[in-house]
């Protein structure tokens, strides 16, 4: 039963419409004509966290944004996942320097992160790979086995 559920979950990941910064544009790109997230059933962007499965943290999280982000995460119904997209979400990226006063150095300090997608900003292909990794994490099997498994 759990297996069937997981399979369904992996094939129907609805992300939340939640753009923070530059990476949000690439997130949109990946849902658009050329990359088309909807192929994997993940193209249903829901604006309300109540109906979303996945939060893609697309950009720098500031200290002012942090409580908002955790609230949104908590308001999502479980099971829920988080993708940290871009260097800013992973570690604060280029905005970490001595004397910085406004950036959270990595979103994992706020919410549990399932998949990290590095890049500044990551290409849409990278985000797609992130989705496949998330599916692999949920079901235990990879959708398109990589070249190393194919040969």
């Amino acid at each position: 039963m759990e297996k069937v559920l997981d399979l369904a979950r992996a094939n129907s990941i609805w992300p939340m419409t939640f753009g923070l910064a530059c990476c949000a544009i690439e997130m949109m790109s990946s849902a658009m004509s050329r990359f088309d997230l909807d192929r994997f059933g993940a193209g249903v962007f829901r604006a309300s966290p109540r109906q979303a499965d996945l939060m893609i943290v697309t950009g720098t999280v500031t200290k002012k944004m942090a409580p908002v982000l955790t609230t949104l995460y908590e308001q999502m119904p479980s099971p829920k996942w988080v993708i940290a997209m871009g260097n800013c979400a992973i570690s604060g990226g280029p905005f970490v320097f001595e004397g910085q006063y406004n950036v959270i150095e990595g979103v994992e300090l706020l919410v549990p992160v399932d998949v990290y997608v590095p890049g500044c900003p990551p290409r849409p292909e990278a985000l797609l790979e992130g989705f496949l990794k998330l599916e692999e994490k949920i079901t235990g099997t990879r959708r398109f086995p990589g070249p190393e498994n194919r040969w």
């Binding site: 559920l5 369904a8 094939n11 088309d36 192929r39 193209g43 309300s48 109540r50």
Partner: protein
């Protein structure tokens, strides 16, 4: 005595079979339509849409459904619990009841109630009620605005909807869906006699189902998700299910009233009926992916300034032509 008992028995069997059939159809229809909507949207937007989950992405809606089944249902703290719980249940009643009188073919109908269309119209008001309950019960501001918009919208479009159906009733002298369908044998479809009424009905019914360009109650760019903002998991899915079934129902009514119902050459009645209905459903999807949303005052005024006067004129012309 025995005869009556037999009759009730037979009727009951028919009813139960119909019920099971309708339930199966409702679920199947919603699955097909969600898949179709994503596919249609995809192809209109130069992409493919669901593809990887099953052949042509056909298993996609099933995956979505199972996922929603396994999703936590949250009840926010500040909601009005009775209203909040009841809303997604009540929205389902008109959906199911409407199917009783829809004639899928000459013989395939749960029961031909002689006031068939009135049953549908009467029950369809319940869905407004449910949306108001959802919006008010959620204690969420977006939901409230969405719900109130929805009421004003339904109010505005119910009258042209009724007025557009009246000429057909005048021509057939019947409320029975099957009689109306039968009256259009050959190519005597009412759409040829009543093109204006058909257009008014179609516009009004698109508005009644809250579809673009009249999707103000759930306008994403203004109200996040409108009246179902606070609903999660299966409760949200019920709203979704009702919405897609409603699209089919209004198309079915349009087919029965204006497009000759199940009548057509060569193919069996049910095939014609579904073919015509889904064609209309496709047109509604097409509208959604093409047009921007109207503003609230424009929405109300389209109805009050254009559709209602037009419907009145159409009614009078029909009345005059029938009598004079």
């Amino acid at each position: 005595m025995e005869q009556i008992g037999n009759m009730i028995g037979w009727e009951t069997v028919k009813m139960v079979v119909g019920l099971v059939g309708v339930l199966a159809f409702v679920v199947l229809n919603a699955l097909i339509l969600t898949w179709a909507e994503r596919k249609v949207a995809g192809h209109m937007q130069r992409r493919i849409g669901p593809k990887e989950v099953g052949p042509y992405g056909l298993i996609q809606p099933i995956a979505d459904a199972i996922k929603l089944l396994g999703k936590e249902i949250l009840t926010p703290r500040d909601v009005d619990k009775p209203l909040y719980y009841l809303a997604p249940m009540i929205i389902f009643v008109p959906v199911l009841v409407s199917f009783i009188v829809i004639p899928f073919s000459a013989s395939l109908q749960v029961m031909d109630i002689n006031v068939g269309i009135l049953v549908i119209l009467a029950f369809s008001s319940l869905s407004v009620f449910s949306i108001l309950m959802a919006g008010w019960g959620s204690n969420n501001k977006y939901a409230l605005i969405g719900a109130i918009r929805s009421i004003a919208q339904n109010i505005a479009y119910e009258i042209p909807l009724l007025l557009a159906l009246l000429p057909v009733i005048m021509m057939t002298n019947s409320f029975s869906m099957r009689t109306i369908a039968e009256a259009q044998s050959g190519l005597g479809w009412f759409v040829f006699y009543q093109p204006v009424a058909f257009l008014i009905y179609f516009i009004a019914s698109v508005a009644e189902t809250n579809r673009t360009p009249f999707d103000l109650p759930e306008a994403e760019s203004e109200l996040v998700a409108g009246y179902h903002t606070e609903y999660s998991g299966m409760r949200f899915a019920l709203f979704f299910l009702a919405e897609y079934t409603n699209i089919f129902i209004i198309s079915a009514i349009a087919v029965t009233f204006f497009l000759g119902g199940y009548q057509g050459p060569f193919l069996p009645g049910i095939v014609w009926f579904l073919l015509k209905s889904y064609l209309l459903v496709f047109v509604i999807m097409w509208l959604r992916w093409t047009y921007p949303r109207v503003r609230f005052d424009q929405l109300l005024n389209i109805s009050w300034k254009a559709l209602i006067p037009l419907a009145f004129i159409n009614l009078l012309v029909t009345g005059g032509l029938l009598k004079l």
